[in-house]
């Protein structure tokens, strides 16, 4: 379904968008992108839901997948806030006191 160069296409399109947005930055229409982005995200997730719902194996394993997801989410959040504390104490706290 997809070739290895998909990631380059995706990243290339993003850079294209950055250049496009930068040249047309005075056009007010483009400064309010958060709504169209949100609608596109809704559309994408609806379609992802479609392929999940139509997939009987996944539907019967939803709880198992959920636990794995929760585990990774907790790990990611905890890991990043612990690192945040280390970075804050070592590099940012002193400056704020003085």
């Amino acid at each position: 379904m997809i070739k290895e160069n998909a990631m380059f296409i995706v990243i290339g399109i993003m850079f294209g968008g950055i250049a496009f947005g930068y040249f047309l930055r005075r056009v007010t229409l483009f400064q309010k992108m958060s709504n169209p982005i949100f609608y596109t995200i809704l559309l994408l997730l609806f379609m992802l839901g479609l392929s999940v719902g139509a997939n009987k194996t996944i539907m019967s394993n939803l709880a198992t997948l959920g636990w794995q997801a929760l585990l990774i989410a907790i790990a990611g959040t905890l890991g990043s806030i612990i690192m945040a504390k280390i970075v804050y104490n070592r590099f940012f706290r002193e400056r704020e006191k003085s």
Partner: protein, 208 residues
Amino acid sequence: MKGSLLVVSFFALGCLVGWSGYFPEFLLKGDVSMYVLYLLMFQVGISIGSDKKLKDILRSIRPKLLLIPMATMFGTLLAVALVSMLLPKWSLFNCLAIGSGFAYYSLSSILITQLKTSTLGLQMATELGIIALMSNVLREIMALLGAPLFVKYFGRLAPICAGGATTMDTTLPIITRYSGKDLVFVSIFHGMLMDFSVPFLVSFFCSF
């Protein structure tokens, strides 16, 4: 918060429609969702490029501030690597691909499903994408709800690192409220860098 509820309900609605089977067959082929993904990436690019604050933000950056997104990345990836040992079904790199969504659930889940289909097969790739979706939605919800606690026990930078790629939009209001208004540019800078790194890191880890 309202936004992520809407996102979850659209996903659930899609599941229901997919389960019922009342939809045109061509929607299940990967091509359609891939073009929508391209559209999304173009829009994300436009929003970064046309941001009026882009120059101010770039000017106010000190090299030291790079430590914050670094903390988010290394903290997340180290902890996810540890936890991946509890998930024998998925390889270390599959778990790291999920972790490097940094709460950007829409993009990471779709990228993972698309990029992994050729090596894992459609079934496993879709499962991995679903785990990525749920895991990153959960991370955003944790960042939103946990912010006051994080500040109390882990310092003012903790809500920013927890928020991952969302600290320039959905979690920004919460962060400015609990970490302080002076960190608003730091939070946006962090979110932009993380946003930017998601497609790179996810595709990097998917290539193993």
